[in-house]
Symmetry: C2
Subunit: 428 residues, 2 copies
């Protein structure tokens, strides 16, 4: 057995403490599996004096994460502070410069600075690992970089924000509206300090940007994601989608098209009977499609002490075993700039509009859709209430451009009360 692999852990929140517990409690198992002892040399957090439910007295303390990251007795800097910039980034850069490997759960930092950090790490012969940054305990980065390495990836999809999925599935189950369930999620501690990271789709977008880069060999391009949160998903849409056999999910999709990389994170309809449609509550799911393998679906807990620490420690075990690979699965210098292609791929859409009770109202809508080249697959009109009738339409595949043209024209008529709602239906 070679000398121990020594960790320096910055950030002692839920995940950091979970990592400490695994290192302490599973020492024999980890040594048997990796052939090396794994130890903790030093720790760092914002507050030192705090009962964290586990004894930390045997580890050196550093107030400054940069000092921790560069200690001589640290082989791997474990960054669990979070935040895209500030101390997390400074300490990560310092760790690389000091010749340390890095394991992090920080999706924001990598989604925004991944290319520069990868280039620095690879120039220094160091690795940055981040299994815990995407889909919690699901070993999806490993599946993509290694398990499916012989595939040309064609599409990656995922429900990767448990809080959003919790809110959406609770809306359907309880019939309560978005605002009520947002409050419920807040009380349960499910929301980030800035809730927009969750419900605005940003957190899930960070994860998608990382998966895209690995899948398609492109530089991480968070800004290239067409991003829409769940704030505007109404109870009506959830109910009506269910009537038509669909569920609404905050779904991330990355797909290489003939015109470039399409990345979307938005509320989509998926078939109620599909694995994505059946995903309830805080669980995450990632779907990977490759030319050889077909479709692989992975499901598991997307957050929490145990699952996230499990992923962090998987990365540590790989480093202990001497498994070293480039940050995004191929050298950062070979990653190409992603050509952005937004809504290039045609898709079916779900449309909901409120029709006024006028003669020929529906005919007018149908004619506008037809003129724009949008053909109707299924349509359902409900009873008029106060002279207003909800109309649901599922279109055949259409481009977003054609659809937008039709929706603008429909909104300009006097037969609908508001702008129609349009949600993409993702084929799974």
């Amino acid at each position: 057995m070679t000398h121990p692999l020594r960790l320096g852990i910055a950030g002692l929140g839920t995940v950091g403490i979970g990592v400490v517990k695994i290192v302490k409690q599973q020492a024999a198992l980890l040594a048997a599996r990796t052939g090396r002892e794994i130890t903790i040399s030093a720790i760092s957090a914002r507050t030192r004096d705090k009962d964290r439910g586990v004894s930390l007295s045997r580890f050196a303390w550093e107030d400054d994460p940069v000092a921790l990251a560069t200690r001589d007795d640290v082989d791997v800097f474990v960054e669990l502070m979070g935040g895209s910039d500030g101390p997390a980034k400074a300490a990560t850069e310092a760790a690389i410069a000091a010749g340390k490997d890095v394991v992090t759960a920080n999706k924001a930092m990598l989604a925004l600075h991944g290319q520069a950090l990868a280039e620095a790490a690879e120039a220094a012969g160091r690795v940055i690992r981040y299994e815990a940054a995407v889909a919690g305990g699901i070993p999806v980065i490993k599946a993509l970089t290694e398990g499916l390495a012989a595939n040309r990836i064609t599409r990656v999809m995922g429900v990767m924000n448990g809080t959003c999925n919790y809110i959406l599935t609770r809306m359907e189950a309880t019939g309560q509206g978005y605002n009520t369930l947002f409050e419920e999620a807040h009380k349960l501690g499910y929301l980030e300090a800035d809730p927009n990271l969750d419900v605005g789709g940003i957190d899930a977008g960070h994860k998608l940007a990382l998966l895209s880069s690995i899948a398609f060999g492109t530089r991480v391009d968070f800004d290239g994601i067409e991003l829409e949160g769940i704030q505007r998903v109404s109870l009506d849409d959830i109910r009506h989608a269910a009537d038509m056999g669909y569920k609404i999910k905050l779904l991330g999709v990355a797909q290489m098209t003939g015109r470039g990389l399409e990345q979307r994170m938005s509320p989509c309809l998926v078939p109620a009977g599909s694995p994505l449609g059946q995903l309830d509550g805080g669980t995450n799911m990632v779907v990977i499609e490759g030319d050889a393998v077909g479709q692989i679906v992975m499901r598991g807990p997307g957050a929490g002490e145990g699952p996230t620490a499990s992923a962090v420690m998987a990365d540590v075990c790989d480093i202990a075993r001497g498994f070293r690979l480039p940050v995004f699965g191929q050298p950062a210098s070979t990653l190409t700039a992603a050509q952005r292609a937004q809504s290039v791929l045609p898709a079916p859409y779900y449309l909901r509009m409120i029709l006024r009770d006028k003669p020929g109202a529906l005919a007018k809508v149908a004619a506008i859709l037809g003129n724009a080249g949008v053909s109707i697959h299924r349509m359902r009109q409900y009873d008029h209430v106060d002279d207003k009738a909800p109309v649901l339409i599922v279109t055949h595949k259409t481009t977003r451009a054609a659809l937008d043209e039709a929706l603008t024209a429909i909104s300009a008529t006097d037969v609908v009360t508001d702008a129609p709602v349009a949600l993409r239906i993702e084929t799974v």
Copy 2:
């Protein structure tokens, strides 16, 4: 870039040809991802002159797989012949002795000779990789050995024989009996040359034995599996299970109990709404439960050219990247002999029996169950037809021993027509 990694491929059936295609068609992608060129030096198969739809003229030919495995220009011996003994084993042993790494899809060989092969490989400093041997394209060996390496695994379950799952789901969908759908599967080419490998649960049992060993650090123990095929699953059971909210699956379960390792491969009931219950057709699913991560579910194609070749090539990529780990995730010398524990864990059971129309018949059955300590959770009696009434019972958790005692006593009465059917209900 270091020198190319040179493969010698024995077996040019569906999977072998799939591997050749990937090496040829994805050369650039593989080199970008692994940092090495991957080439094929030589090939071997039973018949040389046969149109396999891909040009093989640039590869050296060997009639004898042992000669192929030991060639100087071969770094990795890719064993895709199959068969637990004979040429596959001889060539694998020769490859190891000659200092080659081995990649194989051969579950039977490893399930029966895994310990000896692993010891030989590790003594020689060689690796044997077999992602393709379990659950086709799903990177489940990697998930277990690496992605979840920091977990004490508590249970592994899986539907790992697509043919059985195809037959069972078609029975439910079409209302046709086992024999009819066995013939259908046969005509479609879904069955092994010896169909008992599929429908007898042996093939799936081989896979379970490999997963058990990795999960629990025990020597592979195929003979320790409580094995039952799907031949006796009746249409009545499928229908009645559905009435009670369950599906019948050929389910493998490996679990470490206080009294040893319990390994079962048998038709079980699972909740219809669970991921396992919703798995239709030839798709495979593996469920892994660990103390830190909770439950991870992986789903994907369990067979076929592309998926299986994808898994073979993932192992080749790992070798190209220099990732080396023991055959069962920890050194073969540290694996412990599995203490066999059969049906130790209590479980709920589904019982079906045909009751004669006699006064007090049901009371008698209930009394016998009660006396054996088996309590009834749900019961449903159907109408009598010709003085016979089907009765379905879902029990609370009970030991198999208590249940068997009750079933023997029930069979000995004059109130049932045949021995009751008993199927375990697996909690998922």
